[in-house]
Protein backbone atom coordinates (compact mmCIF):
# COMPACT_ATOMS: atom_id res chain seq x y z
CA UNK A 1 0.00 0.00 0.00
CA UNK A 2 1.80 3.18 1.18
CA UNK A 3 5.56 3.00 1.75
CA UNK A 4 6.34 2.07 5.40
CA UNK A 5 7.13 5.16 7.51
CA UNK A 6 10.21 3.64 9.13
CA UNK A 7 12.70 0.93 8.35
CA UNK A 8 11.46 -2.33 9.91
CA UNK A 9 14.90 -3.20 11.24
CA UNK A 10 16.61 -0.03 12.46
CA UNK A 11 13.74 2.46 12.75
CA UNK A 12 15.13 5.27 10.63
CA UNK A 13 12.47 7.33 8.81
CA UNK A 14 12.79 6.09 5.20
CA UNK A 15 9.40 7.17 3.79
CA UNK A 16 10.61 10.76 3.35
CA UNK A 17 12.86 9.59 0.54
CA UNK A 18 10.29 7.43 -1.28
CA UNK A 19 8.81 10.00 -3.66
CA UNK A 20 12.17 11.22 -4.88
CA UNK A 21 13.44 7.63 -5.15
CA UNK A 22 10.40 6.61 -7.21
CA UNK A 23 10.64 9.57 -9.54
CA UNK A 24 14.32 9.12 -10.21
CA UNK A 25 14.40 5.33 -10.62
CA UNK A 26 10.97 4.26 -11.90
CA UNK A 27 10.07 7.30 -13.97
CA UNK A 28 13.64 8.41 -14.56
CA UNK A 29 16.42 6.12 -15.58
CA UNK A 30 18.90 6.41 -12.76
CA UNK A 31 20.64 3.55 -11.00
CA UNK A 32 18.76 2.77 -7.73
CA UNK A 33 22.02 2.19 -5.82
CA UNK A 34 23.42 5.59 -6.72
CA UNK A 35 20.13 7.33 -5.92
CA UNK A 36 20.02 5.70 -2.46
CA UNK A 37 23.63 6.76 -1.81
CA UNK A 38 22.75 10.34 -2.75
CA UNK A 39 19.64 10.30 -0.55
CA UNK A 40 21.80 9.20 2.40
CA UNK A 41 20.09 5.84 2.82
CA UNK A 42 23.20 3.90 3.74
CA UNK A 43 22.29 0.72 5.59
CA UNK A 44 21.07 -2.25 3.59
CA UNK A 45 18.10 -2.68 5.94
CA UNK A 46 16.81 0.78 4.93
CA UNK A 47 17.72 0.33 1.28
CA UNK A 48 15.59 -2.79 0.91
CA UNK A 49 12.58 -0.88 2.28
CA UNK A 50 12.61 1.41 -0.76
CA UNK A 51 13.96 -0.99 -3.39
CA UNK A 52 11.31 -3.65 -2.65
CA UNK A 53 8.33 -1.34 -2.23
CA UNK A 54 5.39 -1.13 -4.59
CA UNK A 55 2.60 1.46 -4.30
CA UNK A 56 -0.83 -0.18 -4.25
CA UNK A 57 -3.07 2.78 -3.38
CA UNK A 58 -4.08 3.17 -7.03
CA UNK A 59 -4.92 -0.53 -7.28
CA UNK A 60 -7.22 -0.67 -4.23
CA UNK A 61 -8.71 2.84 -4.63
CA UNK A 62 -11.82 1.72 -6.64
CA UNK A 63 -12.86 -0.75 -3.91
CA UNK A 64 -12.96 1.74 -1.01
Amino acid sequence: MMVPVRCFTCGSVVSRHWEEFRERTREGDEDPGTVLDELGVERHCCRRMLVSHRDLVDVVAPYQ
Binding site: M2, V3, V5, G11, S12, V13, R16, W18, V57
Partner: protein
Protein backbone atom coordinates in the same frame (compact mmCIF):
# COMPACT_ATOMS: atom_id res chain seq x y z
CA UNK B 1 36.58 16.56 26.98
CA UNK B 2 37.37 14.57 30.11
CA UNK B 3 35.08 13.68 33.01
CA UNK B 4 35.87 13.78 36.71
CA UNK B 5 35.82 9.99 36.96
CA UNK B 6 38.24 9.29 34.15
CA UNK B 7 36.05 9.02 31.06
CA UNK B 8 37.47 10.59 27.97
CA UNK B 9 35.16 11.50 25.10
CA UNK B 10 36.35 12.36 21.63
CA UNK B 11 34.10 13.07 18.63
CA UNK B 12 35.04 11.45 15.33
CA UNK B 13 32.05 12.58 13.33
CA UNK B 14 29.30 14.91 14.42
CA UNK B 15 26.14 16.40 12.97
CA UNK B 16 22.69 17.32 14.27
CA UNK B 17 21.15 13.88 13.73
CA UNK B 18 24.08 11.51 13.72
CA UNK B 19 27.38 11.19 15.56
CA UNK B 20 30.29 8.87 16.07
CA UNK B 21 32.35 9.31 19.22
CA UNK B 22 35.04 7.48 21.15
CA UNK B 23 34.79 6.90 24.90
CA UNK B 24 37.78 5.64 26.88
CA UNK B 25 37.63 4.22 30.40
CA UNK B 26 34.37 2.28 29.99
CA UNK B 27 33.76 -1.33 30.95
CA UNK B 28 31.83 -3.40 28.39
CA UNK B 29 28.87 -3.49 30.82
CA UNK B 30 28.77 0.29 31.14
CA UNK B 31 29.10 0.74 27.39
CA UNK B 32 26.05 -1.47 26.89
CA UNK B 33 24.31 0.40 29.72
CA UNK B 34 24.77 3.65 27.82
CA UNK B 35 23.41 2.07 24.63
CA UNK B 36 20.36 0.71 26.43
CA UNK B 37 19.72 4.03 28.15
CA UNK B 38 19.83 5.83 24.79
CA UNK B 39 17.30 3.42 23.34
CA UNK B 40 14.93 2.83 26.25
CA UNK B 41 15.26 5.63 28.82
CA UNK B 42 15.11 8.91 26.93
CA UNK B 43 11.43 9.70 26.28
CA UNK B 44 10.01 11.26 23.11
CA UNK B 45 6.59 12.46 22.01
CA UNK B 46 4.59 10.12 19.82
CA UNK B 47 0.95 9.98 18.73
CA UNK B 48 -0.93 7.45 20.86
CA UNK B 49 -4.74 7.92 20.71
CA UNK B 50 -6.85 8.93 17.72
CA UNK B 51 -10.35 10.34 17.46
CA UNK B 52 -11.23 9.82 13.82
CA UNK B 53 -13.90 12.21 12.54
CA UNK B 54 -13.84 11.07 8.95
CA UNK B 55 -11.72 8.52 7.17
CA UNK B 56 -12.79 7.67 3.65
CA UNK B 57 -9.25 6.77 2.56
CA UNK B 58 -8.22 3.29 1.40
CA UNK B 59 -6.64 2.51 4.78
CA UNK B 60 -8.32 1.47 8.02
CA UNK B 61 -8.21 3.83 11.03
CA UNK B 62 -5.75 1.49 12.77
CA UNK B 63 -3.28 1.59 9.89
CA UNK B 64 -3.39 5.39 9.82
CA UNK B 65 -2.88 5.36 13.58
CA UNK B 66 0.21 3.18 13.23
CA UNK B 67 1.69 5.43 10.56
CA UNK B 68 1.01 8.58 12.58
CA UNK B 69 2.58 7.01 15.65
CA UNK B 70 5.83 6.42 13.77
CA UNK B 71 6.21 10.06 12.72
CA UNK B 72 8.92 11.62 14.93
CA UNK B 73 7.81 14.73 16.85
CA UNK B 74 10.19 17.33 18.24
CA UNK B 75 10.52 16.93 21.98
CA UNK B 76 11.82 19.77 24.17
CA UNK B 77 12.48 17.69 27.29
CA UNK B 78 13.00 20.71 29.56
CA UNK B 79 9.39 21.83 29.13
CA UNK B 80 7.53 18.54 29.55
CA UNK B 81 7.29 15.64 31.98
CA UNK B 82 6.77 11.94 31.38
CA UNK B 83 3.09 11.31 30.62
CA UNK B 84 2.32 14.83 29.34
CA UNK B 85 0.10 15.03 26.28
CA UNK B 86 -0.23 17.41 23.34
CA UNK B 87 -3.31 17.56 21.12
CA UNK B 88 -2.82 17.11 17.41
CA UNK B 89 -5.14 17.58 14.43
CA UNK B 90 -5.01 16.53 10.79
CA UNK B 91 -7.49 17.47 8.08
CA UNK B 92 -6.74 16.74 4.43
CA UNK B 93 -9.15 16.39 1.52
CA UNK B 94 -8.35 14.51 -1.68
CA UNK B 95 -7.08 14.50 -4.30
CA UNK B 96 -3.92 15.08 -2.29
CA UNK B 97 -1.38 13.29 -0.16
CA UNK B 98 -1.51 13.89 3.59
CA UNK B 99 2.02 14.62 4.81
CA UNK B 100 3.37 14.89 8.34
CA UNK B 101 3.74 18.61 7.58
CA UNK B 102 -0.08 18.90 7.49
CA UNK B 103 -0.27 17.93 11.17
CA UNK B 104 -1.37 20.81 13.44
CA UNK B 105 -0.33 20.77 17.08
CA UNK B 106 -1.68 22.59 20.13
CA UNK B 107 1.86 23.45 21.27
CA UNK B 108 4.38 25.02 18.91
CA UNK B 109 7.28 23.30 20.69
CA UNK B 110 5.99 19.89 19.65
CA UNK B 111 5.69 19.45 15.89
CA UNK B 112 6.70 16.87 13.26
CA UNK B 113 10.49 16.68 12.97
CA UNK B 114 10.16 16.19 9.20
CA UNK B 115 7.42 17.73 7.05
CA UNK B 116 7.75 15.30 4.15
CA UNK B 117 6.65 11.94 5.61
CA UNK B 118 3.70 10.69 3.51
CA UNK B 119 0.81 9.46 5.69
CA UNK B 120 -1.79 8.49 3.10
CA UNK B 121 -2.52 9.27 -0.51
CA UNK B 122 -6.11 10.49 -0.96
CA UNK B 123 -8.11 10.25 -4.17
CA UNK B 124 -11.08 12.32 -5.35
CA UNK B 125 -13.86 12.50 -2.68
CA UNK B 126 -11.66 10.91 -0.03
CA UNK B 127 -11.03 12.77 3.20
CA UNK B 128 -9.10 12.27 6.40
CA UNK B 129 -10.01 14.29 9.46
CA UNK B 130 -8.85 13.35 12.94
CA UNK B 131 -7.74 14.55 16.32
CA UNK B 132 -5.06 12.80 18.31
CA UNK B 133 -3.10 12.85 21.53
CA UNK B 134 0.69 12.68 21.48
CA UNK B 135 2.13 11.41 24.72
CA UNK B 136 5.62 11.70 26.20
CA UNK B 137 6.78 8.19 27.06
CA UNK B 138 10.04 6.25 27.15
CA UNK B 139 11.21 3.62 24.66
CA UNK B 140 10.34 0.89 27.16
CA UNK B 141 6.64 1.29 26.39
CA UNK B 142 6.83 1.22 22.59
CA UNK B 143 9.54 1.39 19.92
CA UNK B 144 7.88 4.51 18.47
CA UNK B 145 8.88 6.40 21.64
CA UNK B 146 12.60 5.72 21.11
CA UNK B 147 14.70 8.77 20.30
CA UNK B 148 17.74 6.79 19.11
CA UNK B 149 17.91 4.95 15.80
CA UNK B 150 20.47 2.20 15.07
CA UNK B 151 22.44 2.87 18.24
CA UNK B 152 25.53 0.70 18.59
CA UNK B 153 29.16 0.55 19.58
CA UNK B 154 32.35 -1.29 18.65
CA UNK B 155 35.64 -1.85 20.37
CA UNK B 156 38.24 0.63 19.19
CA UNK B 157 40.85 -1.39 17.28
CA UNK B 158 44.49 -0.68 16.75
CA UNK B 159 46.43 -1.75 13.66
CA UNK B 160 49.88 -3.25 14.11
CA UNK B 161 52.14 -4.12 11.20
CA UNK B 162 53.48 -7.64 11.82
CA UNK B 163 55.83 -7.70 8.81
CA UNK B 164 55.84 -7.84 5.04
CA UNK B 165 53.37 -10.00 3.18
CA UNK B 166 54.84 -12.84 1.15
CA UNK B 167 54.31 -11.72 -2.44
CA UNK B 168 54.00 -15.32 -3.70
CA UNK B 169 51.34 -16.20 -1.13
CA UNK B 170 47.84 -16.93 -2.41
CA UNK B 171 45.66 -13.83 -2.40
CA UNK B 172 43.03 -14.45 0.26
CA UNK B 173 40.98 -11.35 -0.51
CA UNK B 174 40.41 -8.11 1.37
CA UNK B 175 41.01 -7.69 5.10
CA UNK B 176 37.87 -5.92 6.27
CA UNK B 177 37.53 -3.68 9.32
CA UNK B 178 34.61 -1.36 10.05
CA UNK B 179 34.08 1.85 11.98
CA UNK B 180 37.16 3.58 13.32
CA UNK B 181 40.73 2.36 13.84
CA UNK B 182 43.53 3.82 15.89
CA UNK B 183 46.59 4.23 13.72
CA UNK B 184 49.38 1.99 15.05
CA UNK B 185 51.74 2.08 12.09
CA UNK B 186 51.75 5.52 10.42
CA UNK B 187 55.04 4.79 8.64
CA UNK B 188 53.38 2.05 6.57
CA UNK B 189 50.73 4.36 5.07
CA UNK B 190 50.77 7.13 2.48
CA UNK B 191 48.60 9.39 4.65
CA UNK B 192 49.88 12.20 6.80
CA UNK B 193 48.82 10.70 10.13
CA UNK B 194 50.54 10.33 13.49
CA UNK B 195 50.55 7.27 15.71
CA UNK B 196 47.36 7.14 17.79
CA UNK B 197 45.27 9.17 15.32
CA UNK B 198 41.72 7.98 14.68
CA UNK B 199 41.00 6.98 11.09
CA UNK B 200 37.54 6.28 9.63
CA UNK B 201 37.63 2.94 7.83
CA UNK B 202 35.42 4.43 5.09
CA UNK B 203 38.43 6.49 4.01
CA UNK B 204 40.20 3.35 2.74
CA UNK B 205 37.21 1.29 1.64
CA UNK B 206 37.18 -0.71 4.92
CA UNK B 207 40.07 -2.79 3.55
CA UNK B 208 43.37 -2.88 5.40
CA UNK B 209 45.09 -4.25 2.29
CA UNK B 210 44.37 -0.88 0.64
CA UNK B 211 45.82 1.11 3.49
CA UNK B 212 48.94 -0.96 4.15
CA UNK B 213 49.97 -2.29 0.72
CA UNK B 214 52.26 -5.31 0.93
CA UNK B 215 52.12 -5.51 4.71
CA UNK B 216 50.84 -8.18 7.06
CA UNK B 217 48.61 -6.29 9.51
CA UNK B 218 47.23 -7.45 12.86
CA UNK B 219 44.21 -5.82 14.46
CA UNK B 220 43.90 -5.66 18.24
CA UNK B 221 41.10 -4.46 20.51
CA UNK B 222 42.05 -1.60 22.81
CA UNK B 223 40.70 -2.37 26.29
CA UNK B 224 38.09 0.04 27.65
CA UNK B 225 37.79 2.08 24.43
CA UNK B 226 34.46 2.04 22.59
CA UNK B 227 33.32 3.85 19.47
CA UNK B 228 29.62 4.69 19.62
CA UNK B 229 27.51 5.36 16.59
CA UNK B 230 24.28 7.16 17.43
CA UNK B 231 21.53 8.51 15.20
CA UNK B 232 18.55 10.52 16.34
CA UNK B 233 15.11 10.26 14.70
CA UNK B 234 14.86 14.06 14.80
CA UNK B 235 13.06 14.39 18.15
CA UNK B 236 16.13 16.14 19.54
CA UNK B 237 19.84 16.44 18.75
CA UNK B 238 22.20 13.49 19.22
CA UNK B 239 24.02 15.50 21.87
CA UNK B 240 20.91 15.91 23.98
CA UNK B 241 20.00 12.24 23.50
CA UNK B 242 23.36 10.99 24.78
CA UNK B 243 23.56 13.47 27.66
CA UNK B 244 20.03 12.57 28.82
CA UNK B 245 20.91 8.87 28.65
CA UNK B 246 24.05 9.37 30.75
CA UNK B 247 22.00 11.45 33.19
CA UNK B 248 19.44 8.65 33.53
CA UNK B 249 22.16 6.09 34.36
CA UNK B 250 23.59 8.52 36.91
CA UNK B 251 20.28 9.17 38.60
CA UNK B 252 19.49 5.46 38.80
CA UNK B 253 22.89 4.78 40.37
CA UNK B 254 22.21 7.45 42.99
CA UNK B 255 18.77 5.98 43.62
CA UNK B 256 20.29 2.52 44.13
CA UNK B 257 22.88 3.86 46.55
CA UNK B 258 20.24 5.66 48.60
CA UNK B 259 17.92 2.64 48.62
CA UNK B 260 20.52 0.16 49.87
CA UNK B 261 22.20 2.59 52.29
CA UNK B 262 21.98 1.45 55.91
Amino acid sequence: MSGADGFEVEFVDRSERSARFLVRGLTPALANGVRRAIVADVPTFSIEHLRVVENSSVMFDEMIGLRLGLVPLTTPLDDFELGDTVTIALDVEGPATAYSGDIQTSDDLVRPADDDVPIIQLKENQRLELEAEAVLESGKTHAKQQGGVAVGYRHLQQTVVAGDRDEFEDDDGPQIVRGVIEEGAPEATDDDVAEGDLVLTDSFGNDLRERYPGKEVDVEDIPGAFVFHVESDGSFSVEELVLRAAESIGSRAVELRETVAV
